[in-house]
């Protein structure tokens, strides 16, 4: 669902927040490298161009010894079998519910506005603003560092863009 709604930005957030680690198998989720594989699979349909660096550094999971390790292998294999069908069903369900995916033209427009130091002012969805923000931060590598003085500035532009979208939605709905 996260990938469906936030598209490429979800992949960047996944890499940024989870950060490729030592490959230890977390008991609460499928193995990290397997999760990246599922996301790559999801990115093929609908086709999303993904920066390969997002998937570069993930390592295969190290399973604990003994029965727990065997159990986790079986679980991972079952999940892997189910994922393609699950992704198809998720897409269909969210599509039927009218959940919007990001419009690349709006993302480009918001990105261009951020480059000029102004928020997007015509109305963009949450996913479009977030994707544009991630694109801008990655284009200016230093903005991935929270200590960079421009990091807060980009946050402000993104949050203001969302606020303006809410304002426009209310004004256009109520007029």
């Amino acid at each position: 669902m996260g990938f469906y709604i936030f598209g490429e930005a979800y992949l960047w957030a996944f890499e940024y927040f989870l950060a490729p680690g030592n490959g230890d198998r977390n008991l609460n989720y499928p193995a990290d490298h397997a999760r990246t594989r599922y996301l790559q699979l999801a990115a093929k349909e609908p086709r999303v161009k993904v920066d390969p660096i997002v998937f570069d550094s993930w390592r295969n999971a190290t399973y604990p010894p003994g029965h727990l390790g065997d159990f986790l292998r079986i679980v991972d294999e079952a999940v892997e079998t189910a994922v393609p069908d699950l992704w198809l069903k998720t897409r269909n369900l969210l599509g039927k519910l009218g959940v919007r995916t990001a419009d690349a033209r709006v993302v480009k427009r918001a990105f261009d506005n951020f480059s000029k130091g102004v928020p997007d002012g015509v109305g963009a969805s949450l996913s479009e603003v977030i994707e544009a923000g991630w694109k801008y931060a990655r284009a200016k590598r230093e903005l991935l560092d929270v200590d960079d003085p421009n990091f807060e500035g980009l946050n402000e532009l993104m949050l203001k863009s969302i606020e303006v979208s809410e304002y426009l939605l209310k004004v256009q709905t109520e007029c």
């Binding site: 000029k116 928020p119 402000e156 949050l159 203001k160």
Partner: protein, 203 residues
């Protein structure tokens, strides 16, 4: 000072020449501006406020700390988020910081000044008067709102709160690109004395 037609022209992206002289987000209603024929843009009140708490602090230095002396403490403040459709009540004698809903970006060739709206001022709401906006400014404007009237005043995010006039600057140099400096909330910085004042104090 720019007239309505010049403000409208400043908001437009020049053909093949990069950024407009003026950006206002969300954009003002140009038809209304043109038909009114004035020389300013009305700005709306934003959703973030910063109020000052009652304090036992004896006083606060508006020139910053002096060497060898303890710094004075400003009043403690509290941030408020007020959703659209709800009100903020400003009581008589109280003062609060607000911000414009609009994010402005002025090019290096433009400056501005903000004034309150007389229709609000006549009911006791005083808004920062004749505040200068420097060329290259980017962000929401911090507003100093005070109720000098006799009754509590209801103010609402989204209402028209002030107006901004624009002037051209001569022989302006281009702005350095790539800096993201604006804020969408009211800004409250500690004051700092300039070098000449420090010399006067030390003399």
């Amino acid at each position: 000072m720019l007239n309505a037609d010049e403000i409208i022209a400043a908001l437009k992206i020049p053909r093949g020449r990069g950024d407009p002289m003026l950006t206002v987000v969300p954009a003002p209603e140009l038809d209304s501006l043109a038909s009114r024929g004035g020389a300013s843009i009305d700005l709306r009140l934003g959703r973030w406020f910063r109020s000052f708490k009652q304090t036992a602090v004896e006083s606060f230095s508006l020139v910053g700390p002096f060497p060898g002396q303890p710094a004075t403490r400003p009043s403690r403040t509290r941030q408020h988020f007020v959703p659209f459709g709800t009100k903020f009540v400003l009581h008589p004698g109280r003062f609060v910081l607000g911000a414009t809903l609009e994010w402005l970006r002025l090019s290096s060739r433009l400056t501005g000044h903000v004034t309150g709206k007389s229709s609000l001022g006549r009911h006791g709401l005083i808004i920062e008067t004749a505040a200068g906006i420097h060329p290259g400014f980017s962000g929401c404007l911090t507003l100093e709102l005070a109720n000098v009237g006799e009754v509590p005043l209801e103010i609402y995010p989204g209402m028209q709160i002030c107006q901004i006039f624009f002037h051209r600057t001569k022989n302006a140099s281009a702005l350095a690109p790539g800096s993201l400096s604006g804020s969408r909330k009211p800004i409250l910085r500690d004051p700092v004395a300039d070098a000449i004042f420090r010399k006067l104090r030390a003399a």
